[in-house]
Amino acid sequence: MSPNLAKALLELADDNLILGHRLSELCGHAPMLEEDLALPNMGLDLIGTARTLYTYACEIEDKNRTEDDLAFLRNEREFVNCLLVERPNTDFAHTILKQLYFSTFMESYWTAALSSKDEIIMGIAGKAKKEMAYHIRHSGEWVIRLGDGTTESNKRICDAVTALHIYTNELFINSPNTEFFHKNNILPDRASLKHGWEQAINSIFKQGLIPYPKDNNELIGGRSGLHGEELGHLLASMQSVHRTYPGAKW
């Protein structure tokens, strides 16, 4: 397979866009006012990063496509986000745990990307890394509070761990599309970030009295376009305006 940076960036961009959209679904529906500001704000950060990545991918592939084409005119099987980010919000514990898993990974990913040989990737990383630190702090504090809270809140966060932990391993797998780039110091090697991630999550779980899952089951497939049915529903809603009014401009 010939190395194609645009394809490799698509994985990153899709992760950011899909999780960003998931967060935007909570705008006006969060359990309290502060969260109603926090969740869509984090969504904004992710969507902003996705936009920059899509724009850069379009420049590289040079096929006359725009960020909108990539976000709104691809089908489910063409999306290459990992499965974790498309999981539905379900209850607040799921939402916030998903955020902790993802932002803890991305913070270390962007930190590693600061030494990328590609100047644009380095620039995106410099900003995104700092934003991820805010997301980790916010979601981490919540995970601890839920775990170390009432019997009910502890049960909910533990249920979320059971439901979501199996999706985390996909974060650490280098796809065939990214292999060339991490070997050439353009994108970070995902596998090398696993140990640090586990330690960070473990330390938060300890503070929150949440048992760290022992089994190593995993569910993967997103990078090759194999998704859960929930992604289809998400795309139907996210893409509806653009598909109804093709070429519509904001």
């Binding site: 902003g48 920059t52 644009i120 620039g123």
Partner: protein, 173 residues
């Protein structure tokens, strides 16, 4: 403000004066969401090229998800157009913009406007340790964070324990 700066003859050849003029017009554009500071003071403008009558302004986007980025670019374009400059905007992603680039006068104006300026990021611990944010009204450091996220991507919400006023804090990135 833009009018006062506009040139008498709109299509002169390139001069140093024109370059300075274009620079001053661009950097005097006000931030659309925090209209007390100019984008020059925020450190968003990285460079400006003048080739005959064509200006290229190099700008750094602030926060990844900041919806004002496009508004700022359009405002720069408009202001320069009014002065007779044909303008192109180029986004510079690297090095990434940081709140450390906000000028002293920008920080002062933020405070006067009621927004606590970002605590300088010189110590990385400021992100995880206790940040001492000064109340923009009574200057007390006895303040508490209400929410990490506020009305715009760039702000957090704080409250002064001394004078009891809630206030915005310009997030440090």
């Amino acid at each position: 403000m833009v009018k006062a700066l506009s040139r008498e003859k709109p299509f002169d050849i390139k001069t140093t004066n024109d370059h300075n003029l274009a620079w001053s017009i661009a950097s005097n554009v006000l931030d659309p969401e925090i209209p007390c500071v100019t984008i020059g003071e925020l450190g968003i403008i990285r460079d400006l090229n003048l080739d005959n009558n064509k200006v290229t302004v190099f700008v750094s986007p602030t926060y990844s998800g900041c919806p004002a980025v496009l508004a700022i670019e359009l405002a720069i374009q408009n202001a320069l157009l009014k002065a007779g400059f044909e303008t192109k905007i180029k986004r510079v992603l690297s090095p990434p913009w940081t709140t450390d680039w906000i000028s002293e006068s920008g920080r002062k104006k933020l405070k006067e406007y009621g927004i606590a300026p970002p605590v300088n990021a010189s110590s990385k611990m400021s992100l995880f340790g206790k940040t001492e944010v000064e109340c923009p009204r009574c200057s007390s450091q006895n303040t508490e964070k209400l929410s990490e996220f506020g009305s715009t991507a760039c702000k957090a919400q704080y409250r002064c324990i001394n004078c009891l006023e809630p206030f915005d804090y310009f997030k440090c990135i």
